[in-house]
Structures are given as structure tokens and as C-alpha cells.
Symmetry: C2
């Protein structure tokens, strides 16, 4: 049996929501999919087998972090990211474009790319579309993201247009760089990234430019950058429909559980976000009844499970009182268990979403989800 | 079948070294035993099942930390330490005496006990032999330690004598306090602690005082406080022999692998130490070839296992290069895997020690161990 490099099949639609599967050589990705973030070659505080046990089909790696430490050439020498970290299923890598602007010092952007200094040791680096493709190839990424500029929130129309146009030129250079990658290009997939800020016309120009180049999937970029959920949803009312129906659509950096439900409703298939991992380390747990902070004193003698509706190891093995104690005492096990629950919750949410779409009841699922999630009774 | 409250049987001796088992209601403890330290109701960075999988039969909990957070009365309300943290095998708790002097502020010692302020929130507390017994009962400890004063390193003969004599008065009050504990006293065991600094005569006076009171086991206290291995071993040349042959002897707070081998050689049956957990979080791994620091740059591209002679999950699942990366990047998974290896190494060492004693070849084992461990070839 021949394994497919990349194929996306939609099993069912319900309104604009879709459920299906992406087939890749390293495994199947059920959509809508949530990708836990493994910034520095680890989903923080979890072993790969623990990540997989939550139901995750794919994780995300950050090009910016990995190019600085351990370094792309070193990673290739060590056999690539999968072998390095012990995760044998698909990995999507971002292009580094977003984080180089938000994390590094002394950045200088030109048509060529971005020159910057490492936030770790001050060393000088240059990221271009071609170098980003090379790094993602050296990492051994399964889904490579085009190198783009994430247009800043609040950009004027002219700023958004100029930024989007540059990203489209970089998208073409990314395509060419990726295609020159030999064996890797024959195994991996490349996604383009739509920009255009919140403007419907610019988003359409961007979508058409990407379609003209041709990608395996299309991301909606430049959202979740401070515009707020209402503005994001308004943009998602038109942006996904401008992208091909038969390719996966990925909303980058999103988000809260209610963001995800609303974005699926608007035609999004893939998500990534640091929220479940980062919040977990800070003591925030996600539940069907909304987020709760386990540090709250009312949990100090609560012998019930973190989330009564959850079957994850953290919820079946320990009490809220114990997790409260661990997080207050800054114990590593607290970060481990809270993260494990949150990723489990996110994957369970995605499974509920997929089932609801498959069974043609997504609208009522979404309504029931929001009613319960926003009813902060606890 | 009736389960024994506490019984110690020696299966084999080899020189002064002994191997056997302690039977308790919550399970069997194979001796010589190493007890991982679970300071604040968690062996740092490991789940209880992961601790057990290393081969640990018993863990240690710290009375001082637990009485301050979550608090002894609260712990009792929550069902005790075992249920709280999810460890159903034996737990030994220390008396709080050592840590109250080393960690808390504004301590004031009298014949009654020690008044102190919490290092966490400054709250005022008092530890006495009676209160220490009560706290260890509230925690649900299986092996309770008498409340004593750890005589400081470098004490004069008179200081050591006065300190030891007070500890012996406190040992009697501990025995009485423990025996007044009702149900708990019928399930748990109480160990006395020998003091007397490095003086053979004082150690003998202390041993005789403890034997007169009568305990289930006897600790050699006041060592590993800065005197160095040579002085410690010189003391262990006589101190264990002053204690009953038919009861377990526990060397508190020890130690490095070579300390343990040398102490077993001198008749010690039980150990605890933060070294494998604390060092693990700092990047130090224990191996048969001595300790190594994974942060060292020479490991950055080393695809071999952390310890080629180890079968633990960290050594079979990942490379030195990956562990180097995780520890350098301060990733929680680095602490998790390094700790898992170190506790596994310690338990594996204890199993080798037990086998060597059982097979009457402990002296040659110890010799071979030292030759390899001190030959810092790597």
C-alpha cells in the first residue's frame, strides 16, 4: 500500500464546519485538529507518549526556538526533530517569522528577510523565506509553513496592504525554496498563510495570490494578535471561504476553547495554541464549565477531581486539594498534571466537535457548549 | 493471614553487611533500602507510579514542610498523606527537628522543644516531641522518627554530650507520645535516633539509652552534616554495632552512591537523600562510572544514552544530546527524565547491593564498584 504524501478528505460538513482526515506518511490527522505546542522540542512537562495519550495526532514545533537551540544543522545531524524528541507522528513547524519579531532583539526587516539577534546569546542570524524553508527541512518538518510577516494589530489599510503584498512575495519564494528541498519536498507538505489584517478585500487579494502559487493547505494568519474575539470572528466570517474548500484551513495561534468552537463554526480545520500548556503551568484548568484557577483558596480542602467530567490521569488520580497544594508549592508535578489535564481537555473538545459535525448537530453542540462554558457558576 | 505491624528479618549477612526485609501493613521493604525523598508530598518531578517503577518500596516525607503546607490537621481531614499524594506503600516521616533548625527563621530552643517562624509565611509554630508525634500521626506515617536535635558538626565534647542527652530525654517523650496515638500506634513503627557526634563513648551512651526505651528501628543521626566521608566512615566503624543486631539501622540523609556502599559495608540497612532528585534537576546524572553533568558541551551531539548500563525509560527513550538540550533550555521534561534516571540508578544500586550480600560477595562487589566509580574516565 502506497502512503500518501498529503491528502485531505472531508467526511462530513455541517453548515460551514467540516470534519475529515489529513493523511500523511507519519500518520493521520483527524480534523478539526488541535496541535499542542512543543516550542523547544518538548510539549512542556509531558513525555511524547503522554501527549499522544491525550489524543493528539500532530504537534507544533517552533522554528525560531529550534534554530537557536539546538540549531537546525545540529538537529539534522542528530537525525531530525522527530528522533531527537521521540515523537514519530506528524509535526508542523512554523516559519519563525512571527516569533523573530516578538521575541528577538535588534530585528531589521527588508525585502530579503529579517536580520536579528538571538534572545538567548545575542548571536546574529538572518531569516529569509529560503532560509526558513531550509531550516524546516533540516528539522524534518511534516507540515512546513511559508515565511511571512504577521501584520500587526491596528495596522492602517495601507500598512496592511504593503505587509500582505510582501508576505505574498515571500510565499512564492517559500514555495520555490520548499520545492528545491529534494527528498523532503517529496515527503512533506507546504502551507501558505493568508494576511490582509481585518479587511475583506485585502484578505481576498491574499487568498487569490496564495491559490495562484498553490499550497497543500492554507492558514489564516494575522489573527489572535489583540483584535479581540468579536473582530476575529467577523474576519472569520469571510476569510476561510476565500480559501479552497478542498484544502485544510489552519487558524494560527488560536485559542481559548470558545475561540475554537466559533472558528470551527466558520470553517477552520486546524489550531495551535500555548494556552493549555502555559495556563496549566500557572494553575489554570480548562473545564466544560469554564476555566478555573486551582490556586484559589476554596480548593484547599476540595477532595473532588479537578474536572468531574474528565477521565484524564490527573482527574482520576488526584484531588483538587492535592493539585492546589502542588501548584501553590511550585512543585513540578503540579505543572505536569495540570498540563496533562488541559491537553486532554482540548483533545476531548476536538473529539466532541468532530462527532457533532459528523452527526449533523454542530450548531446545537456549539450552543450548548457556550451556554455551559460561559455560565461561570463554579 | 495476619499482616504484621512491623517485623524485620535478615535473610543473609556478609561481613557487617545485611540483607533482609521489613514487613509492614502497607507493604514490604527490601533492605538495604534507599528511600526517595518526597519533601512536600511529591517526589519532585515524578508521579508515584514512576517512583514505584524504579523499584522504591518506601518514600520519605518531611514533617517540617508538611506541617506548614498543607498542614497536619488539614492533611488528616483529607485522608492522610498516602491518599493525598497517591502513594499506597510505606512512608517514613522525619521528625521535623532537623529542618526546623536549618530552614526556619527565629528559632528558639528549650527543653520543651523548638519555637519557630515558618519560612513560607512567617507564622509562629512550636515543635516538641509530643507535637512531632501528633503531626506524624495526622500525616498517617508508617515509620515515625523520634524528635531529636541534630548535633552540629564540630561540636565540642561537652556540647555533643549535652545535645545527645537532651535528644535522649526527647526520645523517651517521643516514645510516650507515639504510644498514646491509639490506632496509629497499632499500625505504625517508631524509630529512635542515636546522637553523640563522632565520639564513640557518647554514641554508646546514646545507643544504650535508646535500647532502654525500646524502638522498632534505630537511626544513626548527626552524620552527613559536613564532617566528610572519612570521618563519617570512622564513626560508622563503631556506631551501628552499638545498636541492636535484630533491628533495622537507618543512616539519615545519606548519600552519594559511594557513601551508601561504604555504609552498607558497616552495617546500615536504610538510607534517604535528596541527592538523586536535586542533582537530577540540576543536570547531574549518576552512573556506574561516576557522576556526569549533562550540561557539559561535549554531550551536545552525543546520540548515546545517558547511561549505557541503565534500562530506565530516560536512558532507553532519549539521547544525551536531547537531555543536554532540555536541561540547558530549563525544560521541565529535563528535570523529569534526569530525576527518573537518578532514582532508577539508586534503586538499581540497592538491588545490586542486596544481591551481592545474599550471594556472599559484597566485599568484591564494593571493591569493583569503587574502582569503576572513582575512575572518572568519561
Amino acid at each position: 500500500m502506497t502512503q500518501s504524501r498529503f491528502s485531505f478528505s472531508i467526511a462530513a460538513t455541517d453548515g460551514k464546519a467540516r470534519t475529515g482526515t489529513i493523511q500523511m506518511m507519519r500518520g493521520e490527522i483527524r480534523t478539526p485538529a488541535f496541535m499542542p505546542v512543543g516550542t523547544a522540542a518538548t510539549v512542556k512537562a509531558l513525555r511524547p507518549a503522554e501527549v499522544r495519550a491525550t489524543g493528539a495526532d500532530i504537534i507544533l514545533g517552533n522554528t525560531y526556538h529550534l534554530m537557536l537551540r539546538p540549531g537546525a544543522e545540529r538537529m539534522a545531524k542528530l537525525g531530525g526533530l522527530h528522533r531527537f524528541m521521540g515523537w514519530d507522528r506528524p509535526i508542523l513547524t512554523d516559519s519563525g517569522g512571527y516569533q523573530v519579531m516578538s521575541l528577538s532583539a535588534l530585528t531589521k526587516m527588508s525585502e530579503e528577510g529579517v536580520a536579528f539577534s538571538s534572545h538567548i546569546d545575542g548571536s546574529k542570524h538572518m531569516l529569509t523565506p529560503e532560509r526558513s524553508m531550509e531550516i524546516q527541512r533540516l528539522l524534518g518538518s511534516d507540515i512546513v509553513m511559508a515565511f511571512d510577516e504577521c501584520t500587526k494589530n491596528g495596522a492602517t489599510y495601507d500598512e496592511a496592504a504593503r505587509s500582505m503584498e510582501r508576505s505574498m512575495r515571500w510565499a512564492r519564494r517559500s514555495r520555490e525554496g520548499f520545492d528545491a528541498g529534494g527528498d523532503h519536498a517529496a515527503r512533506a507538505a507546504l502551507f501558505g498563510i493568508q494576511q490582509g489584517s481585518l479587511d475583506e478585500g485585502l484578505r481576498k487579494v491574499s487568498a487569490d495570490a496564495l491559490i495562484d502559487i498553490g499550497f497543500d493547505g492554507y492558514a489564516v494568519g494575522g489573527l489572535a494578535v489583540g483584535e479581540g474575539q468579536e473582530a476575529m470572528f467577523a474576519c472569520l466570517d469571510f476569510a476561510p471561504s476565500q480559501l479552497p474548500q478542498d484544502k485544510p484551513r489552519y487558524l494560527m495561534g488560536v485559542g481559548k476553547p470558545d475561540d475554537i468552537v466559533g472558528a470551527v463554526e466558520r470553517g477552520i480545520d486546524m489550531f495551535d495554541c500555548v494556552l493549555p500548556t502555559r495556563s496549566g503551568r500557572n494553575g489554570q484548568a480548562f473545564t466544560w464549565d469554564g476555566p478555573l484557577n486551582i490556586r484559589n483558596a476554596r480548593f484547599a480542602e476540595d477532595m473532588g477531581p479537578l474536572d468531574p467530567d474528565c477521565s484524564c490521569p490527573a482527574c482520576t488520580g488526584w484531588s483538587r486539594a492535592y493539585l492546589h497544594h502542588l501548584v501553590k508549592a511550585k512543585e513540578i508535578l503540579g505543572a505536569m498534571l495540570m498540563t496533562q489535564h488541559n491537553i486532554h481537555f482540548y483533545q476531548n473538545l476536538m473529539q466532541h466537535i468532530r462527532n457533532a459535525i459528523a452527526e449533523g448537530r454542530f450548531a446545537s453542540f456549539a450552543q450548548a457548549f457556550r451556554t455551559r462554558y460561559y455560565n461561570k457558576g463554579r
